[in-house]
Symmetry: C2
Subunit: 143 residues, 2 copies
DNA sequence: ATTCGTGCAAAGGGTTTGCACTATT
DNA sequence: AATAGTGCAAACCCTTTGCACGAAT
């Protein structure tokens, strides 16, 4: 229930924020503000600024995670405290969540070697999904 | 010698492009366009557009690698075909190169599980460097 | 001489912000 | 009633682009 989320983040309860949160909760992957607006617009329309402000407020409270992807857009997802990464199709943008994070064992080692206090990381993996692979304009296959 | 790099990339040889390349070659980590401009300006001044265009041309030829970091800026580095990642201080932005890439073993596995053809990945690790740690305004240390 | 690189200023895309207004507490 | 959220338009930052000029082949 979103009520608690907003309350415990010291944010006022509004229909829009609740809707934004429920969109994120229903989403299988991180979403851009435009994607959120698109989905949310089925129930009510709201300004992009509103979504940005809501998400930034929530990110400040660590309720959502904000990540800038290589496409130049910021993606948001609920911070469920399960650490995840995405595999993104470079052609259709379809995303698959990974449940492995290969980095935790590395980070401790790294902290020792560098003296840095590791605070986090950002990992995106890119590829071509099977569907796009099928419909690939044959660019460099030698038939 | 840069001559060969530009020639083999089918790009005209200019003083500015050579300078840009030598700045990148001397750099221990990936640099932003502004950082490159700053360093290069000691030898000659050039417009940011020129740097952007030179780097994009080189990135298209895979001579340099172009990566968008979480600070919203694009970083460029020579593509020496050694796969590297950076550890970045969130406070002073100092970067350390890692020579481990923990992802290659994972990717093969991933390809099987998802059917994706993996084409690459992006990994940044964030932390606080020892110097910044020393001078940290004590925010949440309980003394 | 042709082709490509460069500077400048303007435009672009995504995100943020100031202000007046509206809703929540 | 006080405080915080929202819409709108303008501003912002980094990057890209059009055009006229200049340099490399």
């Amino acid at each position: 229930m979103n009520n608690n989320i907003l309350k415990s983040a010291d944010l006022k309860q509004t229909k829009k924020r609740n809707l934004i949160l429920s969109v994120l909760e229903a989403a299988p992957t991180a979403l851009t503000v435009e994607e959120i607006a698109e989905i949310a617009s089925k129930e009510m329309k709201m300004n992009l600024s509103t979504i940005y402000r809501a998400l930034n407020a929530l990110a400040d409270k660590n309720v959502v995670i904000k990540t800038l992807y290589q496409d130049g857009k910021t993606y948001f997802e609920i911070n469920n405290h399960k650490h995840r990464h995405s595999l993104i199709c470079s052609m259709c943008n379809k995303k698959v969540n990974l449940d492995v994070c290969p980095l935790e064992p590395i980070e401790e080692n790294l902290a020792q070697k560098t003296g840095y206090t590791i605070t986090g990381h950002n990992l995106e993996i890119y590829g071509i999904c099977p569907e796009c692979m099928k419909h690939m304009p044959s660019e460099d296959n030698d038939n």
